[in-house]
């Protein structure tokens, strides 16, 4: 039996299993899932290119809708950015789960003897990386287009915290939405009302940093973001089993 380090034979080759279970195995499978998502994406670039083009289109439409002249720009920039990230994010979340569902890969993952939450965290980190890549391209572009400096450490921290919360809930909900008949339409409807407590503080805190408010005014928002991230990560951790297991 393949307990710790036992040896057997397959295809005339000896087979060695590492110890199953334990934190090492858990982290290794999370790593494997992230690696798999990144390799597949770097090759096809389907998800990233869709998210990026979409994000740029949203920024463009806002340009006309809001007349982003110099005075209004300062106050609406954080709103424009977060709406852009949120919309582009749903595209990515939908696609990343559809890949797992369509060829039965989700079953393949579930057949592996690892804790189901490893699948959740693997997908969360993968989705987070995609979202951060999109943000890393949109931010400098926006900076150049509208001549506004977005590279402030505070703002970047807010974007990271906000993206974590968004992806933590988004990954959980997208793994439910893929099973629905109306899956592409359903995800934003499920996600947006629940993720509002991430978007509101993220927008306000970003705005605070952009307008140079004092830290005391921004701090409650940051706290709220952190609280949200922790609560929803924990809840997803507890319920993810029930989402994927039949």
């Amino acid at each position: 039996m393949p307990e710790a380090g036992s040896t057997r034979v397959v295809g005339d080759q000896p087979v060695v299993h590492r110890r199953t279970g334990g934190l090492g195995a858990y982290l290794r499978s999370i790593g494997a899932i992230i690696w798999k998502d990144l390799v597949a994406e770097l090759r096809s670039r389907e998800l990233l290119s869709a998210m990026l083009v979409f994000a740029l289109l949203v920024v463009l439409i806002f340009n006309f809708a809001l007349e982003l002249d110099i005075r209004t720009r300062e106050t609406v920039t954080s709103g424009v950015l977060w709406v852009t990230f949120a919309f582009a994010g749903t595209l990515g979340l939908n696609r990343s789960m559809a890949v797992e569902k369509d060829r039965g890969c989700l079953d393949g993952l579930l057949l592996v003897p690892v804790d189901r939450t490893a699948i959740y965290f693997g997908k969360v980190i993968g989705n987070l990386v995609f979202m951060l890549i999109v943000e890393a391209i949109v931010l400098p572009l926006y900076s150049v287009l509208y001549n506004i400096n977005l590279f402030q450490p505070g703002l970047l921290a807010v974007i990271l915290l906000g993206s974590i919360g968004y992806v933590a809930v988004g990954t959980l909900l997208s793994s439910m939405a893929v099973h629905a008949r109306t899956r592409d339409v359903l995800l934003p409807i499920l996600l947006f009302p629940v993720v509002l407590p991430v978007l509101v503080p993220a927008i306000k805190a970003s705005n605070g940093f952009l307008q140079g408010f004092e830290m005391a005014e921004i701090l409650p928002w940051l706290n709220l973001l952190i609280v949200y991230d922790v609560i929803f990560m924990a809840v997803a951790f507890m319920v993810f089993d029930y989402v994927v297991e039949e």
Partner: protein
């Protein structure tokens, strides 16, 4: 190796499996046949630890499902009618990925050996998306035996294959099964089941309605028996 007693599975109000009894010895190759909607796939998903039984006792490789699912999963390989492979990864990358998930060592060697065995070594750097259906199924078998499982489950592995590819798959299935592994395969094709398996179980209306050893029956009588059982 597999022991199922009084298995009931309901979906809402509809009961698919109704007190099913099933037993497979170590090293046996059993084919499950039955009309569409008889519950073959549902049953196999329960054995694969992918679905929970509503009632009854299920033991695979000596472990109870769903309580000891992790122990079962270590000893279990599944080939489904879906390949369970990532289209945007190469064959090699797919196997690497699953090897890491299973916590195997000596990856290079192992993945190479498996690819050789399923006859895809020459095309290991091709994307799975570009593979033919038959090649995908062969790779799926490679994926299923990566961690050298004791029990193999095949869920309609021939779905969507042409004659030639199906014949090739048969050879591979027999090869994989011949290494002392226990195999359960579902099929809606009686001839194919009779060719491969030592025993044929007919699943009808949620129970095993008949169980026939291949060497105890004339293959020509099989369709008649099948009809009489499923239409009863």
């Amino acid at each position: 190796m597999i022991d199922v007693r009084g298995l009931v599975k309901t979906f809402g109000l509809k009961s698919v499996l109704r007190g099913l009894e099933f037993h497979v010895d170590r090293g046996e190759f059993v084919a499950l046949v039955g009309p569409n909607g008889a519950g073959k796939t549902t049953f196999l998903r329960i054995l694969a630890s992918l679905a929970r039984p509503s009632m009854g006792e299920v033991r695979v490789a000596g472990y109870r499902l769903p309580a000891q699912a992790a122990a079962v999963r270590v000893r279990l390989g599944v080939v489904s009618h879906q390949p369970l492979l990532y289209g945007d990864l190469t064959a090699e990358e797919n196997l690497f990925f699953y090897s890491r998930m299973y916590g195997l060592t000596d990856l290079e060697h192992r993945v190479g050996a498996i690819l050789e065995m399923v006859g895809l070594h020459a095309r290991r750097r091709d994307l799975v998306r570009q593979y033919s259906r038959g090649m995908q199924q062969r790779l799926a078998i490679g994926r299923a035996i990566l961690h050298d499982p004791d029990v193999l489950l095949f869920d309609e592995p021939h779905t969507g294959l042409d004659q030639e590819a199906a014949a090739m798959l048969d050879t591979l299935l027999q090869d994989v099964a011949a290494r002392g592994r226990t195999v359960v395969m579902t099929s809606h094709n009686l001839d194919r089941a009779a060719d491969l398996a030592e025993r044929i179980d007919i699943l009808s209306k949620g129970v095993i309605a008949a169980s026939i050893k291949r060497d105890e029956i004339d293959p020509l009588d099989l369709p008649k028996l099948y009809r009489s059982v499923t239409h009863a």
